[in-house]
C-alpha cells in the first residue's frame, strides 16, 4: 500500500512537471532556444522579453510570428518568447523572470487584467519599460499599450452587413464565450452597427469560439428556421462550422457567412474559397509593437496608447490584401 502511494506521488509529480516545464524560448536572431540569464551576449543588443498568454490559440501564434518577423528586420534587438499556457500565475512568474533577468524591455499580452496588473507595475518600478499588447491591465502604470478595439470591429461589421441585407432579413448570431470582454464587445458593437436596420436576430447562442460547437448549434438553427439570410459568427472558425452545417443540408447558398479575426490561414482563406462573404481582421499588433519598442529603447517619441487599424476581407479585395476599416 505504501508502495502504491509513493508511486502515485511520483506520477503526480511527473504530470505536474509535464505541464509546468520550462517555457519554450525562441529568439528572433537565431531561431534556437537560448538559456535565460546568459549575460554573455554583446552589450549593444537590446533584449526584449515577450510574455505570451497562450500559444494554443492560432491568433497568439500569429502574434508571435508577427513579432519575430518584425524583429528579424532589426538586428539590434533580440526577442525571447515565453508561453504562459493560458495560466495567469504562470505568466506572472515568467514576467518576474524577465525582471530578474534585467531585459531591456518587456512585452506582455496578458491573459487577464487583475492578476497581472501588480506584476507589471513592479516591473515598471524596477525600471524596465513594459508594453501591454492586445488586452489591457487595470492601471496606467505601463509604457505603451498596443491593441485593437473589438467594439469598433463589431460596429464596422454590423454596418457592412446592414448595407448588404434585404429588408426584413433574418440573422443567426453565433457568439463567442460570452463571459469574455472580447465576445461582449463583438456582440454589442454588432448591435450598434446594425442600428436602423429592420433585420432580426432569430437565433443567438454561445458557441464558445469553438468550431464543433458552432456546427452543432447551426444544425439546430437550420432545423428550426426554413430561411436564414446571414450568419454572424464571433470568429472565423465559428463561421466555418456554420458553413459546413449549412452545406450538409444543401443550404449554404441561401445565406452569407461573416466572421472576425481574418488570420491568413483561417478567415482570409475562407473568404478566398468563397465560404465567407467577409472576414473582419482582429490585428495582432506584432509589427507595431516591435516598431514602438525600438522607439522606446532609442528614447524617441512614441504614443502611449496605440489603437490598431483593422482591415476587412471580401472576395473582391482579398487578393489585394484587404481594405482598411474606416
Amino acid at each position: 500500500m505504501k508502495n502504491l502511494a509513493l508511486l502515485a506521488l511520483v506520477a503526480v509529480a511527473l504530470v505536474g512537471c509535464g505541464s509546468s516545464s520550462e517555457p519554450e524560448t525562441k529568439t528572433a536572431s537565431s531561431g534556437t532556444p537560448t538559456s535565460s540569464g546568459s549575460g554573455s551576449t554583446a552589450g549593444k543588443k537590446f533584449r526584449i522579453g515577450m510574455c505570451q498568454s497562450n500559444n494554443g490559440e492560432p491568433y497568439r501564434v500569429q502574434m508571435n510570428n508577427d513579432i519575430l518577423a518584425a524583429a528579424k528586420e532589426h538586428p539590434e534587438i533580440e526577442v525571447v518568447l515565453k508561453d504562459a499556457q493560458n495560466d495567469s500565475l504562470k505568466q506572472r512568474a515568467q514576467l518576474e523572470e524577465f525582471v530578474q533577468d534585467k531585459v531591456d524591455l518587456i512585452m506582455i499580452s496578458p491573459k487577464e487584467a487583475q492578476p497581472l496588473t501588480e506584476p507589471v507595475e513592479k516591473a515598471m518600478a524596477a525600471g524596465i519599460p513594459v508594453m501591454v499588447i492586445d488586452r489591457p491591465i487595470n492601471s496606467d502604470s505601463y509604457t505603451c499599450f498596443v491593441g485593437a478595439d473589438n467594439k469598433k470591429i463589431g460596429i464596422a461589421l454590423g454596418q457592412w452587413l446592414k448595407s448588404k441585407l434585404k429588408p426584413g432579413a433574418q440573422i443567426v448570431e453565433l457568439k463567442g464565450l460570452m463571459t469574455t470582454p472580447v465576445a461582449q464587445d463583438r456582440h454589442n458593437g454588432f448591435l450598434e452597427g446594425m442600428k436602423g436596420s429592420d433585420a432580426k436576430i432569430i437565433f443567438d447562442v454561445d458557441m464558445k469560439f469553438l468550431e464543433p460547437e458552432a456546427r452543432k448549434e447551426m444544425d439546430s438553427a437550420l432545423a428550426r428556421f426554413p430561411h436564414i439570410d446571414a450568419v454572424y459568427a464571433h470568429n472565423d472558425p465559428g463561421a466555418h462550422g456554420a458553413y459546413l452545417a449549412a452545406k450538409a443540408v444543401g443550404r449554404e447558398k441561401e445565406m452569407m457567412f461573416v466572421g472576425i479575426d481574418a488570420l491568413p490561414a483561417e478567415g482570409q482563406a475562407y473568404v478566398a474559397q468563397g465560404i465567407e462573404a467577409a472576414s473582419f481582421q482582429y490585428p495582432t499588433g506584432g509589427k507595431e509593437a516591435v516598431e514602438t519598442a525600438l522607439k522606446i529603447l532609442k528614447k524617441e517619441p512614441f504614443e502611449k496608447k496605440i489603437t490598431l487599424e483593422s482591415k476587412f476581407f471580401t472576395p473582391d479585395n482579398v487578393k489585394a490584401g484587404g481594405e482598411l476599416v474606416k
Binding site: 500559444n55 518577423a69 447562442v205 439546430s220 490561414a265 483561417e266
Partner: protein, 328 residues
C-alpha cells in the same frame, strides 16, 4: 426464469430509459417551432453525438474492468491531428493513414494499460499522465497549429492544399440521405464492443476482474492481459473518434476533444454502468448516449443560454444516477 413486471422495472436498462424518456418529453414540450418532430433533427443529433459515443464505448470496457480512462479526449486530438497531417500534408492514402492513426491511439492506450496492469498504477493516475502526454504530443506534431488545407508559410502568406476525398467520405450521409457515416462508424464500434462484452470470453473476464480482481486472479483469469486490452481498445476507439472529428471539422485541431472525456464518462454512468466495475454493459451506454445527445439537441434547438444548459445537464446526470439506485 420469468420476471414479474416489478422485476422488469428494476432492470438497469429500464431504469436508464427513465432519464431518456424524461428528456424526450422535454423535447416534445419545447420542440423549437416543431423542429423536434422533423427527421433531420434526429439524424443530426445522432451525427453530433457519435464522437462522444465512440469514446464512451471504449470507456465502457475500461469501466467494467474497474478502471477509468481520462485520456480519451486527448487521444481524440492526437488522432485528429495525426490523421490530418498524414492525409493532407504527407499525402498518405486513407488505407495507410487510418490503420496508422488507430495504431497510434492503441499505442497510447497500451501505455496506460501497461502502467495500470504491470506498473500497478491507479487507473486515474496512469490515464491522467497519458491524457497530459497525448495532448502534448498532439500540440508537438502539429506545431501548435490547426492542421488544415491552408498552410501558413514563414513569411505570413498562406497556400492551400486540396482536401483529401476521405474527409468528404466520412462526413456525408448515405442510405438515401438518412444516416451520417460517422453514425454508422459508431454503430460498428458499438456492435464490436457488444459482441466482445456479451459473447466473448474476454468480456466475461472483464466483468470478473471488475467484480473482484483478486478472486479472478486466483481463479486463473489473466488479469493483467485482460485489463491491458481494455485500455488498448479504448485508445483505438478514441483514435477513430479523432478521425471522425477531423473529417467533420475538415482539419486536425490539437485542442479538439478537451473535456470530452467527462461527457463520455457521464454517458457511461447515466446508462447505469457502475464506476466501481463489474456491472453494466454497452447497451446501457447507448441509452446514456441518446440521453445526453437529445438533451444537448433540445437545449440547442431552443437556443437556451449556456448557464441554463450547464445547470440542466448537471441535474439530468444526477437524476439518471438516482434512478439507477437499487430500491430495495
Amino acid at each position: 426464469m420469468k420476471k414479474t413486471p416489478s422485476q422488469i422495472l428494476q432492470t438497469p436498462a429500464v431504469r436508464a430509459l427513465v432519464a431518456l424518456l424524461l428528456v424526450l418529453a422535454y423535447g416534445v414540450a419545447r420542440n423549437g417551432n416543431g423542429a423536434f418532430f422533423r427527421f433531420g433533427t434526429h439524424r443530426d443529433m445522432l451525427r453530433s453525438v457519435s464522437v462522444y459515443g465512440l469514446l464512451a464505448c471504449g470507456l465502457t470496457l475500461v469501466v467494467i474492468s474497474g478502471g477509468i480512462d481520462l485520456a480519451v479526449g486527448s487521444i481524440l486530438a492526437l488522432g485528429a491531428v495525426f490523421f490530418s497531417l498524414a492525409t493532407i500534408h504527407w499525402g498518405w492514402s486513407p488505407a495507410l493513414a487510418i490503420p496508422a492513426t488507430l495504431a497510434l491511439g492503441a499505442a497510447v492506450g497500451a501505455v496506460s494499460g501497461l502502467l495500470v496492469s504491470w506498473g500497478r498504477f491507479q487507473p486515474f493516475i496512469a490515464t491522467l499522465a497519458a491524457m497530459v502526454t497525448a495532448r502534448g504530443l498532439a500540440k508537438e506534431i502539429s506545431d501548435n497549429q490547426k492542421v488544415s488545407t491552408v498552410v501558413t508559410m514563414a513569411d505570413g502568406t498562406s497556400k492551400s492544399a486540396p482536401l483529401p476525398k476521405v474527409f468528404g467520405m466520412i462526413d456525408q450521409r448515405v442510405l438515401g440521405d438518412n444516416v451520417a457515416v460517422v453514425t454508422l462508424i459508431f454503430l460498428a464500434v458499438f456492435a464490436l464492443t457488444w459482441v466482445l462484452l456479451a459473447r466473448h470470453r474476454w468480456g466475461r473476464e472483464l466483468y470478473a476482474i471488475g467484480g473482484n480482481e483478486e478472486a479472478s486472479r486466483l481463479s486463473g483469469v489473466p488479469v493483467a492481459r485482460a485489463k491491458m486490452l481494455a485500455y488498448v481498445l479504448s485508445g483505438a476507439f478514441a483514435a477513430i473518434a479523432g478521425i471522425c472529428q477531423a473529417a467533420q471539422e475538415q482539419q486536425g485541431d490539437p485542442e479538439a476533444g478537451a473535456g470530452y472525456e467527462l461527457t463520455a464518462i457521464a454517458i457511461v454512468v447515466i446508462g447505469g454502468t457502475s464506476l466501481t466495475g463489474g456491472r453494466g454493459g454497452v447497451g446501457l451506454t447507448l441509452v446514456g448516449m441518446l440521453t445526453i445527445g437529445y438533451l444537448d439537441k433540445i437545449l440547442s434547438l431552443n437556443a437556451v443560454s449556456e448557464s441554463t444548459r450547464l445547470i440542466l445537464t448537471g441535474a439530468i446526470v444526477a437524476l439518471a444516477v438516482l434512478a439507477q439506485r437499487s430500491r430495495k
